[in-house]
């Protein structure tokens, strides 16, 4: 497995830990088995900086976004981009007829399938695996699996944009917009730029870079970034706010106008209408 797959194991380990809490934000019964072999070791390696609570808060934020958007919009086509060890297709309640596409590279998908099969996991909706290299053209593989760009879509891009360059992150949003019928939605997360430049982040960021998974992209102006790339923010939160892990975040939520604050953005957006 490549370096990004270890990141997927790390996320799974974080979800496994969350699932055992009395006040768990979600329960992922498969996460522990998906975290092997390195996930729990990476929790220690990347400790500090609020990452564990952030992973949990983000997971729940996106769970809620999926539930709300599908209920309100009637969208029946959900795409998890760089799904990693995500088990939402196996643990969430899905409206009848929902198709869930999980896009990731072939090795990861095969390994995940092997482990979930061994656990006897049954998807709770029409789940479709899409093996694709996200650094190349992947939309054809998605369409070959049944994705229909003429139907509205909910895109989920969890923990993905960090690993992209500015150009790649903007390109991803434009690509999603170009494949989105009117009424499509997007839910994802973005790092703050200040966080990536903070001297107090340096040790952690250096560790990630040494492990082959550097964090690169971030912005402190998420609304502008989305607008410039075909999307309109409908809900923007930071961890610790209501609906985003209030009471579980070990830091103050900094007012938006406070300079120098390290931001983590949790975002719901809709496709911008052509103007």
């Amino acid at each position: 497995m490549d370096a990004v797959s270890y990141t997927a194991q790390w996320m799974a380990a974080a979800r496994a830990q969350e699932s055992t809490r009395d006040d768990a934000l979600f329960v992922d019964p498969f996460a522990e088995d998906l975290a092997a072999p390195r996930g729990f070791e990476l929790i220690d390696r990347y400790a500090g900086g609020g990452l564990l609570p952030f992973i949990s808060i983000r997971t729940r934020f996106l769970d809620d976004a999926i539930r709300d958007v599908l209920a309100e919009s009637g969208i029946q086509q959900v795409v998890l981009i760089a799904a990693g060890m995500d088990t939402r297709a196996f643990r969430l309640d899905w409206p009848e007829g929902t198709e869930v596409y999980e896009v990731d590279h072939a090795l990861l998908i095969a390994e995940k399938r092997r482990r979930l099969d061994a656990l006897g996991a049954e998807p709770r909706t029409d789940r479709r695996e899409v093996s694709a290299d996200l650094t190349k053209e992947w939309m054809p593989a998605l369409e070959a699996a049944g994705f229909d760009r003429d139907r509205p879509t909910l895109w989920i891009a969890e923990a993905l944009t960090f690993f992209l360059t500015d150009e790649q992150a903007a390109g991803l949003l434009r690509l999603l917009a170009s494949a989105s019928a009117p009424g499509s939605h997007l839910a994802f997360d973005i790092l703050g730029r200040t966080l990536l430049r903070s001297p107090f982040s340096k040790r952690f960021l250096d560790t990630l870079a040494a492990d082959g998974t550097p964090w690169i992209f971030g912005t402190d102006e998420p609304e502008e970034f989305l607008t410039a790339n075909g999307w309109k923010v409908t809900d923007l939160r930071e961890p610790g706010q209501p609906g985003a892990g209030e009471g579980r975040w070990p830091y103050d939520v900094q007012p938006r106008d406070r300079r120098g604050a390290n931001r983590l953005w949790l975002i719901r957006a809709e496709r911008a209408t052509a103007s």
Binding site: G49, F200, N262
Partner: protein
């Protein structure tokens, strides 16, 4: 008088770490993970409040924030 300000900074750090009761002036705040990247902005504001200064984030020198001693030297001397 000059020690009152740094005491506020020390109290803020200890307040975040209930398992600690004291903090020596030479403890490395970053190495020891007493202050991490997300808490850093709160540290800066705590220093600003205690010292009555404004700190420019664009020209921050991390050396000034390494220990209570360096913070005292940089902002409370």
């Amino acid at each position: 008088m000059s020690s009152a300000g740094i005491d506020k900074v020390r109290d803020w750090i200890l307040g975040r770490h209930p398992d600690r009761t004291e903090l020596a002036a030479d403890v490395d705040l970053i190495e020891s993970r007493l202050v991490d990247s997300l808490a850093f902005v709160e540290l800066v504001y705590t220093i600003e409040d205690a010292a009555g200064v404004e700190i420019d984030f664009d020209t921050i020198d991390i050396e000034d924030f390494q220990t209570l001693a360096t913070i005292e030297k940089a902002f409370f001397a």
